[in-house]
Amino acid sequence: MENCKEISTPMATNCYLDSDEKGTSVDQTKYRGLISSLLYLTTSRPYIMFSVCLCARFQSNLKELQFTVVKRILKYLQGTTNVGLWYPSEVYLNLVGYSDSDFAGCKIDRKSTSGTCHLLGLSLISWHCKKQACVALSTPEAKYIAAGSYCAQSLWIKQ
């Protein structure tokens, strides 16, 4: 993978990732090793957070399809080795939060994914992406649940 071609996004917009029962099985150990390394990278690269979290859900029943998606993330990382978080000095500090969710993002159980970001001044200090524990029946409901998890995180930061 060292000399692979670079790709501009870590995941295709039409990426349909499900359990793929008919696909061929591949080596689980390698996949789990990749996921653990990528999860470590999410602490400094928030932009791969969503794609890595999505792939990490398929570790037990692994098929060729999921492996291809992970390889695409590696191809993306090949081109972005210099990209990182920037914390400028001398800026005013005010805390702003963004909360968002998709609706029925998981194709298997129709659960939504909530995501939050906290910006202190101009820099990103906290981010979070998690599949929700319950099935939301409407978009406002999914966003409402995301806002709840945002609120918990801001109260912690405020301490």
Binding site: T13, Y47, L95, C117
Partner: protein, 85 residues
């Protein structure tokens, strides 16, 4: 630091946090998720509307196309250090 602003791109969700009434469509939302409602009432956070174009949390919730994927990290203070001296 008294009121932390939360930017959400869905007006219905914002109204849900301010409105204590239970409707037939919201009655099945579990009680633990109404946590935010208490804190909005106490004044710990303040929910504001933001348009979907400026919603920066999009980056961690959905797969994005090239244009949007290049736009969002810049707004979040993620930069390429190749261009920094």
């Amino acid at each position: 630091m008294s009121k932390i602003p939360l930017l959400c791109d869905n007006t219905s969700a914002i109204n849900l946090t301010k409105n204590p009434i239970q409707y037939s469509r919201t009655k099945h939302i579990e009680i633990c998720h109404h946590f935010i409602r208490d804190h909005v009432n106490n004044g710990d956070c303040e929910i504001q509307f933001i348009s979907t174009e400026n919603q920066l949390a999009d980056l961690v919730t959905k797969p994005l196309n090239k244009e949007r994927f290049n736009f969002l990290p810049n707004e979040l203070g993620i930069i390429d250090f190749k261009f920094v001296k």
